[in-house]
């Protein structure tokens, strides 16, 4: 599905280059469930952002669905991730002004999907995550676990091929975290490719493959 070849990312401070990512080579097939682990500052989130095309890299090649991301312009890239990638964040990042329903609906609006179709898709999603009763509440009225559920529902609404999750359970208690992981597993079984960044060995074990990062390099995978 995607392939990273010799990816480097650095920050120049004077004459020194501080490497954030160093010679990353990674190949991910459709249907995989990958956990990225590593200590703080090892470059996990940056790698995830690079895969998600939110962040740029300085050197290397990136093939996504046989297209060369490194040769694309900003606009093409954002077109690509809009269509194929869903994001889940540690801090949920729901929009405070929007209800649960509207938060989930947002990506569809940006893709100019018709109102009736949107309604059906959002209703499906609410059903599936069993949050129909909460659809008119605002994020502030939900618990952390519920907010993350909404965040995942929103990430999935546009039927992405790839789900990127940056410490999705980082702000949750262990029971809520477990539920989210179960959900991920289930999604993966349905065919969604998932890449998650995590600190916890336990969560990482849900993945089919674990990549360990240290100082911007793949330590083992």
């Amino acid at each position: 599905m995607l392939e990273l070849k010799h990816i480097y990312k650095w920050i120049s401070t004077g004459n020194n280059r501080t490497f954030i990512l160093k010679d990353i080579n990674l190949s991910i097939k459709e249907g995989e469930f990958i956990s990225i682990m590593g200590p703080s500052g090892s470059g996990k989130s940056t790698l995830l952002n690079v895969i998600g095309m939110l962040d740029e890299f300085n050197e290397g090649e990136y093939q996504f669905l046989h297209e060369s991301v490194h040769k694309m312009k900003e606009k093409q890239r954002s077109g690509l991730y809009k269509q194929y990638i869903g994001f889940v964040f540690q801090a949920y990042h729901l929009i405070d002004e929007l209800t649960v329903y509207e938060n989930i609906e947002t990506p569809l609006i940006y893709q100019d999907i018709k109102g009736s179709e949107r309604k059906a898709l959002v209703a499906d999603m609410l059903d599936r995550f069993q949050i129909v009763g909460k659809k008119d509440l605002f994020p502030a009225q939900l618990s952390g676990g519920q907010q993350q559920l909404v965040g995942i529902a929103r990430a999935l609404i546009a039927k992405p091929k790839l789900l990127l999750a940056d410490e999705p359970t980082g702000n949750l208690n262990s029971k809520q975290g477990e539920e989210i992981m179960e959900l991920f597993k289930q999604l993966n079984d349905e065919g969604v490719t998932i890449i998650q960044v995590t600190h916890s060995e336990k969560n990482a074990s849900y993945g089919k493959r674990v990549i360990h990062l240290l100082d911007g390099m793949v330590e083992r995978s």
Binding site: S45, N49, S78, F89, H93, L94, I95, P107, Y110
Partner: protein, 792 residues
């Protein structure tokens, strides 16, 4: 999509109460101002446009060269109109107006009519003043015809005048001299008509009775031409420019065509030769400029607060982008938000206008009728909302939508305070404008006070001016004698002028005059009581005397006249002067006194004493504290000698103050604007401190835990903003100085630009700003640090 955006916008407005109310109040105030100004300006620019021939009507005016100075004169000779119509095929029609006044008597009702115009029948063809009664084809053709407006009709014939079958052909006696038949009732000239009248009389009456009306040498009439459609007015104006000479070989005066549509705003004529309703394009420009400034200041608030808040919103932008929002969609979203804010502000501004309308009218003296359902209002309303929405929203929209999601997520609660310098610049800009306006108003008020308090060279207090009418013009002595014996009256003196903006001038010849060294000298016929009664200072020579009268003429001139004739105060006495064909000697020189507004210098003046001539005014000096009593005595005596004309009198000091009414109103309006700009600016400052305090909440908490006191934290938060206000004041001082300097140039007698005023204004603004800022800073400083530090 639009609905979706508006929904989000609405929620965002409600969630951020401080931000929204600061924005909305500021915008609403400025929009209210802009709307009122817009309506006013529109109305002013469309004066007279109700006439169908509006674009084809021109007024013939003259440029006269008098003693080397070129004067603009609005009046033309009576025979000019028919001559132009006969000689120039471009002229379709002509109308003349002569300003007249007098007393009209119908049955038992007698009223003094000031708005009387002598005019041609063609007025009904050229202008759109429809007749409610009477035949527009014939009315005013015969010299004994009169047409009155509906309000005059009501005055004479009651509310039911329309149902009076014998209305037409009613007879009005004019000044006890002639009878006029009522030939029609015309509508009252609309509010936006620069041509005003209450009564129209046939102009042919004047040609029959007034010898001057027929003469080419005498300029008495406003002459309007209706040119044929398609005429090149400019070329035509050139063509007739020097044609006056061919009608009257003695004159070198030139003719200038003034487009009728410029009459209201751009008329500037000398010698009080223009009449009707006039305004000044200068006011329009000042209003538009200030209104626009105010709107910009409110928009600056919006921009400032939006970008200050960008940190909070950056997260939202990141999320939206990650969820597939394109930049265009985000810009659109933020613009919808600002337009919604503008719309709410717009609605609020309508409420403000409604509530402040009566108050505004009193303050500014400008009648602003706001018809909220009119197309004009609605389109102006929408236009202002859209302009404001875009002006205020565009910059923040582009800034906010440019955030990169990866960066935003990385710096949770981090810096990201982009454009700080830009924001500071905007605050400086806002306050510089406010301070400039305040400096200008301070000097305007000082100048006004100066003009009110200045010694005019005569004693204007306790001075009543009785307008002489009817036989009293010739027999003022009767009234004077009577009044002189009253207890509440100190002195009396007749004159041919009002002492307020005197504009009755002629040429004079004097001993030692160079040929062609003509100049205009203002003149008045008085009696020997005048100079002592008004306390004019006789610098040399003697006053007129009641004993010496008819044998030879005597004159008293002011210093300016003596100087202009080449004399000194000392050697002027005894010099021979020829004024209006009466040769006589100068017997006295008086100290210069102000007979014109202080915007003009003091010109030469000559007093004559010719009791056999008519007088128009009787000045009465009342005994201090006995004004009411004096008025009663005047009323009683006046009635004894004049029953036909009602008594008309005025207080000279009030009449002089009246001269500066326009200046006073202008000052009030600018003060209002200055107040508004400072208020809106402070609103913005308040909003900014709120956000600064929010942004630095953690820092404040930490400092407090480390032992910082309330004062030091208040100082920390206030310092940055106060610095900006100080910079703004420094910028405003030269700007204010320059504007004041320019404005004061319009006054021949003016105040000095004192430096302490700048200092005072600066300190005052600083105090207001400090108050605004500390309101929030103190609150932030008092907050419990545990609260602010717990949030992580």
């Amino acid at each position: 999509m639009i609905l979706f955006n508006l929904k989000i916008a609405w929620r965002s407005i409600r969630r951020n109460k401080v931000f929204s109310s600061v924005n909305i109040i500021g915008l609403a105030l400025s929009m209210a101002c802009c709307l009122v100004i817009g309506l006013y300006v529109w109305n002013e620019l469309h004066y007279d446009s109700f006439h169908k021939n509006y674009n084809n009507i021109y007024r013939v005016t003259e440029k006269q060269n008098q003693a080397g100075t070129l004067y603009s004169v609005a009046v033309t000779p009576g025979p000019l109109a028919p001559a132009l119509q006969k000689d120039f095929p471009e002229v379709a029609n002509t109308v003349r107006f002569g300003s007249w006044s007098g007393v009209l008597k119908n049955g038992t009702r007698t009223y003094e009519v000031n708005g009387m115009q002598a005019t041609d029948n063609s007025i009904f063809k050229v202008f759109d003043f429809p007749l409610l009664k009477g035949n527009p084809a014939t009315a005013l053709q015969s010299p004994d015809e009169i047409v009155i407006t509906e309000s005059i009709a009501e005055k004479y014939f009651g509310k039911e005048w329309k149902n009076n079958p014998a209305l037409l052909d009613q007879v009005f006696r004019f000044n006890n001299e002639a009878d006029f038949k009522l030939a029609g009732v015309v509508i009252d000239p609309p509010e936006n008509s620069s041509i005003r009248f209450d009564v129209l009389i046939s102009i042919s009456y004047l040609f029959k009775t007034d010898e001057w009306s027929n003469k080419w040498e005498s300029n008495n009439y406003h002459t309007y031409l209706q040119l044929k459609p398609g005429t090149d007015a400019k070329a035509f104006s050139e063509k007739i420019r020097d044609k006056l000479h061919s009608y009257n070989t003695k004159t070198e005066d030139l003719m200038v065509l003034q487009p009728f549509k410029e009459q209201y705003l751009q008329s500037k004529f000398d010698f009080n030769t223009d009449w009707g309703k006039r305004s000044n394009i200068r006011y329009i420009n000042i209003f538009m400029g200030v209104g626009l400034l105010l709107l910009i200041i409110a928009c600056v608030n919006f921009i400032n607060l939006s970008t200050a808040r960008s940190l909070k919103r950056s997260m939202e932008v990141g999320v939206r982008k990650v969820n597939g929002a394109s930049r265009r969609q985000l810009v659109f979203q933020f613009l919808s938000e600002s337009i919604l804010v503008a719309f709410i502000a717009g609605v609020a501004s309508v409420v403000i206008i409604g509530a402040s309308q009566p108050f505004l009218q009193k303050l500014t003296g400008i009648t602003i009728t706001v018809n909220f359902s009119s197309l004009l209002f609605l389109s102006l309303f929408l236009l202002i909302i859209l302009i404001t929405g875009f002006l205020a929203g565009l910059y923040p929209a582009f800034i906010l939508s440019s955030f990169k999601p990866a960066k935003v997520f990385k710096s949770v609660g981090g810096r990201g305070v982009s454009g700080k310098l830009f924001r500071q610049g905007l605050v400086v800009f806002q306050f510089a404008i406010s301070v400039t306006l305040i400096i200008c108003t301070s000097f305007m008020y000082r100048q006004l006070r100066f003009m009110q308090q200045k010694d005019l060279g005569f004693d204007k207090e306790q001075l009543v001016n009785i307008r002489l009418a009817g036989q009293l013009k010739e027999k003022v002595g009767l009234l004077k004698n009577d009044l002189d014996h009253q207890t509440a009256i100190a002195a009396t003196a007749p004159a041919t002028m009002s002492l307020v903006n005197v504009d009755n001038s002629s040429y004079v010849e004097w001993e030692g005059m160079q040929p062609d060294d003509k100049f205009l000298i203002t003149q008045a016929n008085v009696d020997p009581g005048f100079i002592p009664a008004l306390n004019l200072q006789l610098m040399n020579g003697s006053n007129f005397s009641f004993q010496k009268t008819n044998d030879t003429a005597t004159y008293i001139v002011n210093e300016a006249a003596a100087k202009r004739m080449g004399y000194t105060v000392n050697n002027a006495i005894g010099k021979q002067v020829n004024f209006w064909g009466n040769k006589g000697a100068i017997i006295g020189v008086v100290k210069d006194f102000h007979f014109k507004p202080l915007s003009t210098g003091i010109n030469p003046f000559i007093f004559r004493y010719q009791p056999q001539d008519r007088y128009f005014s009787l000045f009465v000096k009342t005994v201090p504290g006995k004004t009411q009593e004096a008025i009663q005595q005047i009323k009683k005596s006046y009635k004894k000698y004049e029953s036909e004309f009602p008594l008309q009198f005025s207080f000279v000091d009030e009449a002089i103050n009246e001269l500066y009414l326009g200046d006073r109103r202008m000052a009030t309006i600018i003060l209002l604007f200055a107040g508004l700009t400072i208020f809106v600016g402070c609103l913005g400052l308040f909003g900014l401190t709120v956000f600064a305090a929010e942004q630095r909440i953690k820092e404040i908490g930490i400092r407090k835990v480390l032992g910082a006191g309330v004062a030091s934290i208040t100082g920390l938060l206030s310092k940055d903003f106060l610095k900006l206000v100080v910079i703004a004041t420094i910028i405003a001082i030269p700007a204010g100085w320059y504007a004041t300097q320019k404005w004061l140039e319009g006054y021949a007698y003016r105040i000095n630009i004192d430096w302490w005023v700048f200092g005072l204004v600066g300190v005052a603004v600083l105090i207001v700003a400090l108050f605004t800022i500390s309101f929030q800073s103190v609150k932030a400083a008092l907050a419990n640090p545990v609260e602010s530090l717990r949030t992580e």
